[in-house]
């Protein structure tokens, strides 16, 4: 290994090394309710009762728990790491405060401090239309601008959504991702709590993003938020979620279910910037159904976690529907990012694009796992898949598992996969112009991420670049 590569490893090995200082703190909390560890029907019943849910939801939960018990673990991803999850050691429901606040001043000081440190209130003031802040199992603060309310836009935490708009929730909940879909979707359905519920009326354009922030604070916590977004005909909405957690020596579990429905001519963009600590198992099911001439875009940034298994799915069910998945995964020391996309073409003239970019460093492992399925009726459909992996160091690993099932003729499919290393040649080119090796490396990594960062709202792009820059700077001397 040349000195240049060695140095490169050293400077990148500290990427996100100050996670503990920046995000890894935790609060000593006197919870309003903290259940016992472990999972059973009593726990499920307790959650439903505390939330004063309608009976049909309680029954859904119990049914889902039985499905969870009966389903095997996924047969893909990282079997060894999955086997280490001890479902009996996890807290399934922690309620930090008695009731949610819509006034920042009424949020308890310790929680306020947490979200202040994470920059949430600042972002809300600057450029967001609405904010939801979830702490452990429940949303503790929620607000939306008055003018959005007046347009009939519904943005609630999922628990309130069920209370206030039971008709819509009952109609769509679990229709995109049924409990039977996979073991973790069943688990989420059994113990879900929090998450977002959004309904955008026909023709309404939500011009500012809505954001939810998910914070895990306790050790061995299980966070199971449930999100349902419905964009009615011809409407547009951009939703952003961010996630962090403290650094602990034992693991926590984050297992969300996200369902999106874009009705005719609607547009949904769903942006995720997750920056989990290294003790989080992140096992998430995300799926969208896209109707006639509608568009759904998943913009998915995966930093951190011990193991992430996440494959945002888009079902193009209406003629002319369009889907896009743009994802970045960063796998550092002892991390495995098993991420990808599923694109199901089930109507004529549908089009889709998958762009997956991954960076692996040290012994980190990034896998792209993707499925493209074109049903027989999906004539004149177009698909493009591009996977791009950047390896830093000799132990980094990248795998690609693409599956294509094409049952229709007259379709256009493009697939491209590349693996590259931060090349000495590139470093030399940039250093020959006066940039130090650290600056050159940073420029190359930022350049690699650029197709992703340019899709983020400016504030998030700046934050992401700053995060990387800080870590790289910290490595000098």
């Amino acid at each position: 290994m040349s000195d240049a590569i060695k140095q490169q490893n050293e400077s990148l090995s500290t990427l996100n090394a100050d996670y503990a200082a920046k995000y890894g703190f935790h609060d000593p909390v006197d919870y309003f309710h903290k259940g016992a560890r472990g999972l059973n029907h009593e726990v499920v019943e307790m959650i439903s009762r505390m939330k004063k849910e309608p009976r049909w939801m309680a029954e859904r939960r119990h049914e889902a728990l039985d499905i969870f018990y009966s389903k095997p673990m996924p047969k893909w991803g990282n079997q060894q790491a999955l086997g280490e999850i001890d479902f009996e050691n996890i807290y399934y429901f922690m309620k930090p405060i008695e009731r949610q606040q819509d006034n920042w001043d009424d949020v308890p000081e310790y929680i306020k401090k947490t979200f202040d440190r994470l920059g949430i209130p600042e972002a809300e003031q600057k450029f967001l239309g609405g904010v939801s802040a979830q702490y452990e199992s429940e949303v503790v603060y929620h607000s939306m601008k008055e003018d959005l309310k007046k347009q009939g836009i519904v943005f609630l935490d999922m628990d309130s959504g069920l209370r206030e708009r039971e008709d819509i929730v009952k109609k769509f909940f679990g229709t995109i991702i049924p409990s039977t879909d996979n073991k973790f979707a069943a688990l989420n359905t059994a113990v879900w709590s929090g998450g977002s519920f959004i309904y955008v009326p026909p023709g309404v354009n939500v011009t500012v993003p809505l954001q939810a922030y998910f914070r895990i604070n306790a050790e061995n916590m299980g966070q199971f938020e449930r999100t349902l977004i419905i964009a009615d005909k011809g409407s547009r909405v951009h939703y952003i979620e961010g996630c962090t957690a403290p650094v602990y020596s034992t693991d926590s579990l984050h297992s969300a279910v996200v369902e999106l429905i874009a009705l005719d001519d609607a547009y949904i963009r769903y942006t995720t910037i997750q920056n989990w600590s290294r003790n989080i198992f992140n096992l998430v099911t995300k799926r969208a159904t896209v109707h006639k001439n509608a568009t759904v875009e998943w913009v998915d940034g995966n930093l951190g976690s011990r193991l992430t298994m996440k494959y945002p799915c888009i079902q193009l069910v209406g003629e002319g529907a369009r889907g896009e998945v743009l994802s970045v995964a960063f796998a550092g020391v002892d991390q495995h990012q098993d991420a990808g996309a599923k694109m199901i073409h089930a109507a004529p003239n549908t089009s889709s694009r998958i762009t997956s970019k991954s960076i692996s460093k040290d012994n980190g492992r990034a896998s792209y796992r993707g499925l493209v399925k074109i049903h027989k009726n999906a004539v004149n459909s177009k698909v493009s898949v591009e996977c791009d992996a950047l390896l830093i160091g000799d132990d980094a690993r990248s795998d690609t598992y693409p599956t294509m099932e094409i049952d229709s003729e007259k379709v256009r499919v493009e697939h491209e996969a590349r693996v590259s290393k931060v090349a000495e040649e590139q470093l030399f080119y940039l250093t020959s112009r006066g940039l130090t090796e650290d600056d050159a490396r940073l420029l190359i990594v930022n350049g690699f991420m650029e197709p992703f960062t340019k899709e983020l709202p400016l504030e998030y792009a700046v934050e992401l670049n700053r995060l990387i820059e800080l870590e790289m700077e910290g490595s000098i001397g």
Partner: protein, 256 residues
């Protein structure tokens, strides 16, 4: 003032690539304001020499000296050599996806000046230099060399030179892959940059660039050594008669 008036000089440079010696002891002194050309057939070691002088990690200088204004270049890393005033226009410039020409140039200028250039000054400078080199303004926001044609890459190399204003420019096969119009534009750029405070070392296989950028001295490189040196007329003779006669001369000398 005991320092020699030589601007850039290297002595008895030996270069190895993957354990094989490709440059076998070459020396040259270049004074302020001079233009030198190194010509030679493919594989003669000219590109290896320029890459090694710039500090490419794959080209190891096993012995010799190289100084710019008296400063020992061989003790410096590539970025230090650049900040000391050395520049290499690459034969095959690499693509850096996701990094725009403008962002890259800003970062490079910042490294030279030690601080960020004022944004509006930078834009003005970039716009003017691009216009002089007939580089379309849209290139500022394109990714560096990503999808550029051969000629576009070469122009952007010269653009970098004119922005960074090095004291000593090594131009490695800057004429290759250029059509005649592009060649003239690039040559104009080189001539605009050139003054009596800096110097240029052109490395080229063909004579045609030398019709536009007039060298003071021409050196013929063969098998890792300078076989012959002369004035501009030497380039013309090589153009007419090829390199064979130089090789024969060298062989005859060796036999004597």
């Amino acid at each position: 003032m005991t320092q020699s008036k030589a601007h850039f000089e290297f002595k008895d440079i030996h270069v190895e690539v993957e354990g094989k010696e490709v440059v076998k002891g070459v020396s040259l002194t270049i004074n302020h304001g001079e233009i030198h050309a190194i010509m030679g057939p493919n594989g003669s070691g000219k590109s290896s020499l320029s890459n090694a002088l710039m500090g490419h990690p794959n080209y190891t200088i096993t012995s010799g000296e190289a100084r710019l204004d008296g400063k020992n270049l061989l003790e410096m890393s590539a970025d230090e050599r650049s900040r000391a005033g050395l520049f290499l226009a690459f034969q095959y410039p690499l693509a850096i996806p996701g990094v725009t020409v403008a962002n890259f140039l800003r970062a490079a200028l910042k490294s030279h000046r030690g601080k960020d250039a004022d944004m509006s000054d930078f834009r003005k400078l970039l716009k003017a230099e691009m216009s002089d080199l007939s580089v379309d303004p849209s290139f500022a926001t394109r990714y560096l060399n990503d999808g550029f044609s051969g000629g576009e890459k070469k122009r952007v190399e010269i653009l970098q030179m004119s922005m960074l204003k090095p004291k000593m420019a090594l131009l490695d096969e800057t004429d290759s892959g250029l059509d005649i119009d592009a060649l003239k534009t690039v040559a104009d750029g080189i001539n605009r940059y050139h003054n009596d405070q800096n110097a240029i070392l052109l490395v080229t296989h063909y004579q045609r660039l030398l019709n536009y950028v007039k060298p003071d001295f021409v050196h013929v490189m063969m098998n890792g050594q300078f076989a012959k040196s002369g004035g501009p007329e030497l380039a013309l003779k090589l153009e007419e008669s090829g390199y064979d006669w130089v090789e024969k001369e060298v062989l005859q000398k060796a036999e004597v």
